[in-house]
Amino acid sequence: MLRKLLFRNSTNFQFVFATAGALIGLTALLLSFQLILDVRSFHSSEKELFGPNSVVIQKKVTKLTTVGMNSTEFTPEDIEALRSKEFITDVAPFQSADFKVGISEVPGDGLPHFYADMFFQAIPDRFMDIDVDWSWNENSEYIPIVLPRDFIMIINYGFAQSQGINQISEELLMAARLTIHIDGNGKKTTMMGRVVGFSQKISSILVPESFLEYANGLYSNGNIINPTRVFITTTDDSYGELEQLMEEMNLDISQASIDVAKIKTIITVVIGIFGVAALLIMLLSLMGFVQYSQLMLSKVSYEIRTLIRIGYSVKTIVMTFVVQMTILFGIITVSSITVMTLVNAFVVNTWLNENGIHLEKSGFLPSVILAAVCFGLFITSNYLSVRKTIFKLGRS
């Protein structure tokens, strides 16, 4: 009877609007939240664009460098300065071989006769951008080598043609063994090597760190070599800082790496704005709902005042409202989750797929939890607002 008295004219325009508002608001919030989650998973699963933010940095070679008055080496102080930057999460200098390296073909393996002077560098395994068998020890049959992909491009589409030699496929190059000539510390030796992969990102000739340490130990000329190239890993939204660092240290960074950093920064910012907008929508619908419940209270203020005058406790009346709100908002929450799931499955995904973007679905549990949190927030704020108003009516 209390409900009949307090809710007799609650199904009206305002009710429909407040309910629709809350439904739209919560659905928008859940949809954006779900999208943010999906994009974040996209973020971490797409290697090319969204892998860890690893960038190779080197100092610019200038006229002064060429005449020997300026060094492109990173001193231990430089490395320390890099480590202390907040947006840099990992620093790893390239190691260089302190001995001469040359390669030639292994007769009978299908490569034309050649000899070339070379160099070797090594980076920590965690920075390798391709998945190859990168283990090496003294008993290994050959030294695994990774070449820059551009290298084979230059050979096949430039060098080979102009010199009238055959083009070499990646497969052939990887199948053929190479003779590695090492000369340093007064000793000479040859070893077997084999190209195991090609790197998009690192324009250097890479060998495993374990091999380089071993070989430097035996053939090093005893020079202390400061690295000239350093691998750094940066945080997602650090394009601005990276650009500043380039200025400060006169750095040279590949345009592709900079573009990736730029895109990532933009995406991170856009996602952030998206999240804030969704939160605002939610707050707006929360306010709409609180306002609706206030309107409902003001419509039955006479009834509430009189009920308190004939002995009804504030708690009883508040609970009558809160129970009603809980039922109503429970329905809204469940509907929002349903609508969000349907829109996500049939509209967003279809659209993304048509545009060739395949997101790894990240599951609905976080969204359901968020919906539950919103539900709790709505009920609590409504409870507090209703209770305050009823108290005020009771005292009048």
């Binding site: 009877m1 005058r309 004939i310 002995g311 504030v314």
Partner: protein, 213 residues
């Protein structure tokens, strides 16, 4: 229950001159159970008296003590408890719920106190001559009929003090007499008392005490 008045003067009545035997700006004590008549012409503050004692109005100078406690110091929770267990009221404007039927209005109160059985409530409706109005919404009842519903509602709880603000204003003398008879019987059952305000008529009844405004 003891009500002690100490120089009480409602703000709206400040400008008036009050007689020496008026309840305003005077000191006196009301002990319940007793039957008190408050007789005055319009505009002297009968409703103000009832609403002030019932804790609905707080705009007055002076102090009213209920069993030794200042009325102003009672919390809303204490007021509600008081209105459920020891103080009942018939407002001049009745304050029924027009959208609910007579029966629902009565049930709304009785569901809170479980003071009377359905049969007993039905008997009261019969005593006051409106059993056939039971299922009619209150807004469709005449003022006299509404007044009788309000009278019965005020009796559906235990009370030491029943405040009545011109409860018979829309009843003829015969019906007023019947209603007052019912009120007196219920008051006796509760071992309580009442304050009845009236425009002058004593409805053929003797009171323990008479107050003037």
């Amino acid at each position: 229950m003891t009500l002690e008045f100490k120089s009480v003067l409602p703000f709206p009545l400040r400008e008036y001159n009050h007689a020496g035997d008026s309840v305003w700006k005077n000191e006196f004590v009301l002990e319940f159970p007793s039957k008190v008549m408050l007789n005055a012409s319009s505009g002297k503050g009968k409703s103000t008296f009832v609403n002030t004692v019932y804790g609905v109005r707080h705009d007055y100078d002076g102090t009213i003590l209920l069993n030794g406690r200042d009325l102003r110091s009672l919390s809303l929770h204490e007021w509600i408890e008081l209105r459920k267990t020891s103080m009942s009221v018939i407002f001049q404007d009745l304050q029924l719920f027009g959208e609910l039927t007579a029966w629902e209005n009565l049930q709304l109160k009785n569901n809170l106190t479980f003071h009377r059985s359905d049969a007993e409530i039905m008997a009261m409706l019969e005593t006051l001559g409106i059993p056939d109005k039971k299922n009619q919404t209150c807004k469709t009842l005449s003022l006299g009929q509404q007044q009788r519903v309000a009278i019965i509602r005020s009796l559906l709880q235990p009370f030491e003090l029943l405040l009545m603000d011109e409860p018979f204003s829309h009843l003829d003398e015969e019906n007023a007499h019947i209603a007052l008879g019912l009120i007196c019987r219920e008051t006796a059952k509760n071992n309580g008392g009442f304050v009845l305000t009236s425009l002058g008529s004593k409805h053929g009844f003797t009171f323990d005490r008479e107050l003037k405004l």
